[in-house]
C-alpha cells in the first residue's frame, strides 16, 4: 500500500454541524463537563435529538481516567460505534477518518465527535513534559520538555533555508490576529502590529511569545450523518471531497521542514478533482507560524518565494488562512485544536461566520499536524471540504 493506492471516496457523508464551546484562559469546568457541553451544543445546532445518536468519538488529553464509553454513559447514550483518540493535533481528523467509514459501512448513522480539554498552564507543562517516553527519557532530563525549543530550532532552519526573518513569521501572527478581531470567540482580539510582535519577549529564540499558542480551556464538536439523513434535508450540505494522511514520513531523521502532506498532496488534489487555486479558504494547523508556511508549501499553495506569498496572498487575504484567528489568537484548548480549524471551515462553508465571513466560500482545505516525537511533529492530515451554499 502506498499513498497512491486508490481509496474509497468519502462521499455519502455530511458534516451536519460544527460548534465551539468558547475558549477561556481560566475556567471552572472539568474536561468531562466541557465535552458534555460540546455534545449538547452540537446536537442543538444540528437539530438532532439525543436518541438519534449512535456513535461517539472523543479526542482529549485530560479526559482520563474516563474514556469515550464513560462519556456515553453520562450522556445516556447506547452507541453502536465509539472511539478515543489522544493523538493531539492529529486526533480530531483521525477520528473523522474512521467515523466517515463507519457511516459509509453502516456501523453507525449519526456520529458526534467531541474534542476538548480543561487546560491551565500547569496542566500544559505536565502534559508536554510527559508527552511520550522519548520526551520523558531524552528531552526532559535536559530541561527541554517544551516543544517551544524544538520549533525554535526548526524555525531557525526554515529561516536559513528560505532567507526569512522574524518579521515574516510575525506577518502571519498579525494577519491571524486581524481575523480574530472579527471572531467574538477568540481569546486574543486586541489589535496587533508587526512592531508589537518584534517587541514581544523572546521565549526560545527566534520564537517570541506571539509565536506560541496561548493555553486555554475549551471544546469543539461536529456531527456526521449520512447524506440522506432526514435531519439535514433541505439544509446546506458540507461534504468531504477528499482526505489524505501520512504520519511519521521520515522517522524524525529529516529537517522537519516538510510534513507527510508533501507526499500525499498530489493524491489529495486528484481525488478532490480540485487544486490549490480552487480553494476559497484554509484552516492550517498553526501550533507555530513556521508550520503554517511548511504545510501551505507541502500542499502547493506556495509555489515560489515565501515572502512574496505572505505579502501578496496572505496579508491581502487573496487566500484566507485561519479565519478564526487560528490557535495563535483563538487559543489552543488542548485536543480541541484538532477540530478547531474544521469547525471554522464548516462555519464559513455554511455562511455563518459573521463579520469574518469569506464571500461565496464553497471550498475549504483543513489540516491537522502534531505529535512531536523527538524533534518535530509526526502526524499530518489534510481534507478538502465542499459546501453547497
Amino acid at each position: 500500500m502506498n499513498a497512491n493506492t486508490p481509496a474509497a471516496a468519502y462521499d455519502g457523508v455530511n458534516i451536519a454541524a460544527g460548534i465551539e464551546i468558547p475558549y477561556r484562559r481560566h475556567a471552572q469546568a472539568r474536561t468531562s463537563d466541557l465535552l458534555a457541553q460540546a455534545y449538547l451544543a452540537v446536537l442543538e445546532k444540528a437539530g438532532l435529538a439525543a436518541s438519534q445518536v449512535d456513535g461517539i468519538g472523543v479526542a482529549s488529553f485530560t479526559h482520563g481516567p474516563d474514556r469515550a464509553i464513560d462519556l456515553a454513559w453520562k450522556l445516556g447514550l447506547s452507541p453502536r460505534w465509539f472511539m478515543d483518540d489522544s493523538n493531539g493535533g492529529a486526533s480530531g481528523l483521525n477520528l473523522l477518518q474512521h467515523a466517515v467509514r463507519a457511516i459509509q459501512c453502516g456501523d453507525a448513522s449519526v456520529i458526534v465527535l467531541v474534542a476538548g480539554d480543561h487546560f491551565e498552564p500547569a496542566d500544559f507543562t505536565r502534559l508536554v513534559e510527559n508527552y511520550n517516553i522519548t520526551t520523558r527519557e531524552h528531552l526532559r532530563p535536559m530541561g527541554a520538555g517544551s516543544p517551544n525549543s524544538m520549533f525554535a530550532m526548526l524555525t531557525r532552519r526554515h529561516m536559513k533555508q528560505y532567507g526569512l526573518e522574524r518579521a515574516d513569521y510575525g506577518a502571519l501572527a498579525v494577519a491571524q490576529r486581524r481575523w480574530a478581531q472579527d471572531n467574538p470567540n477568540a481569546v486574543y482580539r486586541s489589535p496587533l502590529t508587526i512592531e508589537d510582535y518584534l517587541a514581544a519577549p523572546l521565549v526560545s529564540d527566534p520564537l517570541c511569545r506571539l509565536d506560541c499558542v496561548p493555553v486555554v480551556t475549551g471544546a469543539n464538536a461536529i456531527v456526521l450523518t449520512a447524506d440522506d439523513h432526514p435531519v439535514i434535508k433541505g439544509l446546506p450540505q458540507v461534504r468531504i471531497r477528499a482526505m489524505c494522511s501520512l504520519h511519521n514520513p521520515d522517522h524524525q531523521q529529516g529537517d522537519g521542514l516538510s510534513t507527510g502532506l508533501a507526499q500525499v498532496a498530489d493524491t489529495l488534489w486528484r481525488r478532490a478533482g480540485l487544486g490549490p487555486d480552487d480553494i476559497d479558504l484554509c484552516s492550517i494547523y498553526d501550533d507555530y507560524p513556521v508550520m503554517v508556511l511548511v504545510q501551505l508549501a507541502d500542499l502547493g499553495f506556495i509555489k515560489g518565494d515565501i515572502k512574496e506569498f505572505i505579502r501578496q496572498r496572505l496579508l491581502t487575504r487573496a487566500l484566507p488562512v485561519n479565519t478564526s484567528g487560528g490557535q495563535l489568537s483563538a487559543g489552543q484548548a488542548g485536543a480541541a485544536c484538532s477540530l478547531h480549524g474544521l469547525v471554522e471551515a464548516w462555519t464559513q462553508l455554511r455562511g455563518e461566520a459573521g463579520a469574518r465571513q469569506v464571500t461565496a466560500a464553497r471550498t475549504a482545505l483543513v489540516t491537522g499536524y502534531g505529535m512531536v516525537e523527538y524533534r518535530y511533529g509526526m502526524c499530518a492530515t489534510a481534507l478538502v471540504l465542499e459546501g453547497s451554499q
Binding site: P141, A144, S146, S149, M153, K160, P201, S204, L207, H251
Partner: protein, 104 residues
C-alpha cells in the same frame, strides 16, 4: 559517560533514540555505536520563568553526529552554528561542549 547511538546489525543504518525495528530495513538487531562528536546545526536559548522576574536560560543545540543521527543536546554556554562539539551524557542528559575540554 560516553554517548552512543544505535546501528542496525543488518544494514548499518544508525538512529537515536533507539527503535525496535530499523526504519530503513526493519531489522531487529542493534549494536551500540559511539557518537562522541558532532557539528552544531542550530541553537536556541530557551528562557524559563523562575518567579520574581528571574529567568533561567537553557542553551540547546541540534547536533549532526559524525555517526549519522541528528540529536538534540544541551550546551553549557551559547555556541555558534557549525561549531564542532564533543557529546557526552551527564545525569541522564545529552550534553554538548567545546572539543578537548575535560568532560566526565
Amino acid at each position: 559517560m560516553s554517548f552512543h547511538v544505535f546501528s542496525c546489525a543488518a544494514c548499518g543504518h544508525a538512529v537515536f533514540p533507539a527503535r525496535y525495528l530499523c526504519p530503513a530495513c526493519h531489522g531487529a538487531q542493534w549494536r551500540e555505536t559511539p557518537a562522541p562528536q558532532g557539528v552544531i546545526q542550530e541553537t536556541t536559548a530557551t528562557r524559563h520563568k523562575m518567579g520574581e522576574g528571574r529567568q533561567e536560560v537553557l542553551h540547546l543545540a541540534t547536533v549532526k553526529t559524525h555517526a549519522g543521527p541528528i540529536v538534540v543536546a544541551r550546551l553549557d554556554e551559547a555556541m555558534h552554528e557549525q561549531a564542532e562539539v564533543d557529546l557526552f551524557m551527564e545525569e541522564g542528559a545529552l550534553m554538548a561542549g567545546r572539543p578537548g575540554l575535560l568532560h566526565p
